[in-house]
Amino acid sequence: MSEGTVKQFLYVNRKAPHGTVYALESLEVVLIGAAFEQDVRLAFMDDGVFQIMKGQDTTGIGTKNFAPTYNALGDYDINKIYVEKESLEERGLTEDDIMALTYEDEDDDWAEKSSISIISRAEMADLIDSSDVMFNF
């Protein structure tokens, strides 16, 4: 990769977790991709908002609970996470129902800040429009 070329990567997450492997695969690609030092953004819309629900406990279904891994995104400098407001509302959810994902801002004395932005469907369209590379899950 040529030096100085930073592209805007957008990972679009539209599937519910646990029922299919899309959510886990997306998370793994995001974490691997973090090593390439691009401008990475994550979008959660439609059933994808369920991926970051609080209180997920997979003990009973006997699968790996990868939900806590989203908390690690901040440590990989992935701190631009966009959640679509309409998708939450359609599912009876609010911002309080999703995980409080944060990062430590090195430019602000390592202050802990929220990684999450709740945006409208129109703003999501703008976000997609302004991205250079998209990965869809």
Partner: protein, 101 residues
């Protein structure tokens, strides 16, 4: 004997739940499992359809799948939670199982 309809897809993504409800005869049962348990959420765009269906069919949801998805505390009143043994019991109590995939 009545039929047990099972639904394992999210009502926000697929029409499986809607098709199960409009196929289920009065007195039959609908069991939500895997991603189908999202159909048990109250206050969602799907909730009115579920509440309406519950006037004529019994609706169950698999607890382990609700727990996995963090939605055990937001289930529509009247939806009965079952464990895996309860799932097996439902299957034996009904004449057939129709799976809406």
């Amino acid at each position: 004997m009545a039929i047990l309809h099972t639904v394992n897809k999210s009502p926000f993504d697929k029409n499986s739940l809607e098709r199960a409800f409009n196929t289920a005869k009065d007195g039959s049962a609908v069991l939500l499992l895997e991603d189908g348990v999202y159909g048990a959420i109250k206050g969602a765009t799907s909730s009115a359809m579920v509440e309406d269906a519950m006037k004529t069919v019994k609706v169950y949801a698999l607890s382990a799948d609700l727990d996995a998805r963090g939605i055990s505390g937001r289930v529509i009143d009247g939806v009965e939670l079952v464990d895996y043994a309860g799932f097996v019991k439902l299957a034996t109590e009904h004449s057939q199982v129709q799976s809406w995939l």
